[in-house]
């Protein structure tokens, strides 16, 4: 596939993923543009892979995490997550959703990445571990901590799904 065709067809999906990952569309735009620039330089190798789109997505995650590591090395006293302020739409009915967006922005970057990879992309623990370069047990603990910070009760989800199933019969 030609690089220009790939960008034309896949950039919207990459932008959506990067926006969910970073919390900011404009930051996602910069991130995706940087990564696509790098991907262009090695496009022959990427396009020969079994799943080039998954590889580019992995580049986005790595670039984002790498950026946060560089910030940490400079002993920043302000974490970008603290500065990431969601822009609510002002509708009361979306208060819970907007509160969730706010809590997402407070997650450490690796926890946020793990949550996004699991619940946005639907990757398995093994795939997430390969993506983040860690063990599956680490993935599970990262996600557990993140869900706790996000105040998500998995059992509550399972319960509601069960009720929905019963009511639909």
């Amino acid at each position: 596939m030609e690089f220009s065709d790939y960008v034309r067809t896949q950039r919207p999906a990459l932008m959506r993923f990067a926006t969910v990952l970073t919390g900011h569309a404009w930051l996602a735009d910069e991130l995706v543009s940087d990564v696509l620039g790098k991907a262009f330089e090695r496009w022959d190798r990427i396009t020969a892979m079994e799943r080039p789109h998954a590889y580019v997505r992995r580049m986005i995650v790595n670039e984002h995490l790498s950026w946060h590591r560089r910030m940490a090395r400079r002993r920043s006293t302000v974490d970008l997550a603290e500065m990431s302020i969601p822009i609510p739409d002002g509708t009361a009915s979306h208060a819970e959703r907007d509160a969730m967006i706010g809590r997402l922005s407070q997650l450490p970057p690796r926890q946020r990445a793990a949550v996004v990879l699991r619940y946005y992309l639907g990757l398995t623990d093994g795939e997430i571990a390969a993506q983040l370069g860690c063990r599956q047990s680490t993935v599970r603990s990262q996600i557990a901590r993140a869900l706790n910070s996000l105040r998500i009760d998995i059992t509550e989800t399972a319960g509601r799904q069960a009720v929905d199933t019963l009511e639909s019969r």
Partner: protein
């Protein structure tokens, strides 16, 4: 406690925000990658200086009041030191009044600023200046505003160049989603974005660089005709990329 459906709704909302940034091809000819060294520093409070712009055009610039109401209090960045009472025009560059002996001498006039900006933008963009304020009016440095055109896209811009105090650091306008980092040469760089909820397709980027020698260069660039208030959307995307805007304000030719 909540459940995964709320998380899914949050993802969906974030996805929808991705669509607010117009699709563009990646900048394959990239700017100096050195500026991508990123860090976040504690924002040192700086007293905001009201920049009064004398409009050459009939309509004076107005404070974009809706921006301060964004999110009913959330989504704001505290401009430490207070925004004070901003006058009816303006663009706050978030720099203090210049010291009695400024370290950096900004361009002496609107004409000089315009000429320098055009020189730095040569081959990248053209500007049409419709408003300007001389240093005596701004009490800091000259400022210009108008339309910037690049790659077939034209959007409203304003540019201010001033002299910052030795302890000043870059920070974003109130209401902007913002990142601040320090570059390897000591320049502090604030990059922010604002999406106008009342105007579909309206987005404004702000880039402010406070150089180590005290040069403060701030550029707002928008898809709207006026980067400071609700106006007609004239571009499908910001005419310059964030990298290009960053290269512009961090140029050593200021």
């Amino acid at each position: 406690m909540t459940d995964l459906r709320t998380l899914a709704e949050a993802f969906s909302e974030l996805e929808s925000r991705a669509g607010t940034v117009p699709v563009r091809m990646p900048d394959l000819v990239t700017a100096d990658r050195g500026v991508r060294a990123r860090s976040v520093r504690l924002l040192v409070p700086a007293a905001a200086v009201a920049v009064v712009l004398a409009a050459a055009a009939p309509a004076a610039w107005q404070q974009l009041h809706p921006r301060t109401d964004i999110g009913t209090g959330t989504g704001r960045l505290a401009t430490a030191g207070g925004t004070g009472s901003r006058p009816s025009a303006p663009s706050s560059a978030h720099v203090s009044r210049p010291p009695s002996v400024p370290r950096y001498r900004p361009p002496a006039s609107v004409a000089a600023l315009t000429a320098r900006a055009r020189t730095i933008l040569t081959g990248i963009a053209t500007i049409e200046v419709s408003q300007g304020a001389e240093p005596a009016q701004t009490h800091s440095g000259p400022a210009i505003g108008g339309s910037l055109t690049a790659a077939g896209q034209s959007g409203g811009f304003d540019l201010l160049v001033a002299s910052a105090g030795p302890t000043e650091r870059a920070q974003c306008d109130e209401g902007f989603a913002c990142t601040v980092r320090t570059l390897t040469d000591g320049t502090t760089l604030a990059v922010g974005a604002f999406r106008d909820p009342q105007t579909p397709g309206a987005i404004t980027y702000q880039v402010l660089a406070v150089h180590a020698d005290g040069a403060a260069v701030q550029l707002h660039l928008s898809t709207e005709r006026d980067p400071k208030r609700h106006s007609t959307v004239t571009a499908s995307r910001i005419p310059l990329s964030v990298q290009q805007m960053t290269s512009f304000v961090t140029s050593d030719r200021w």
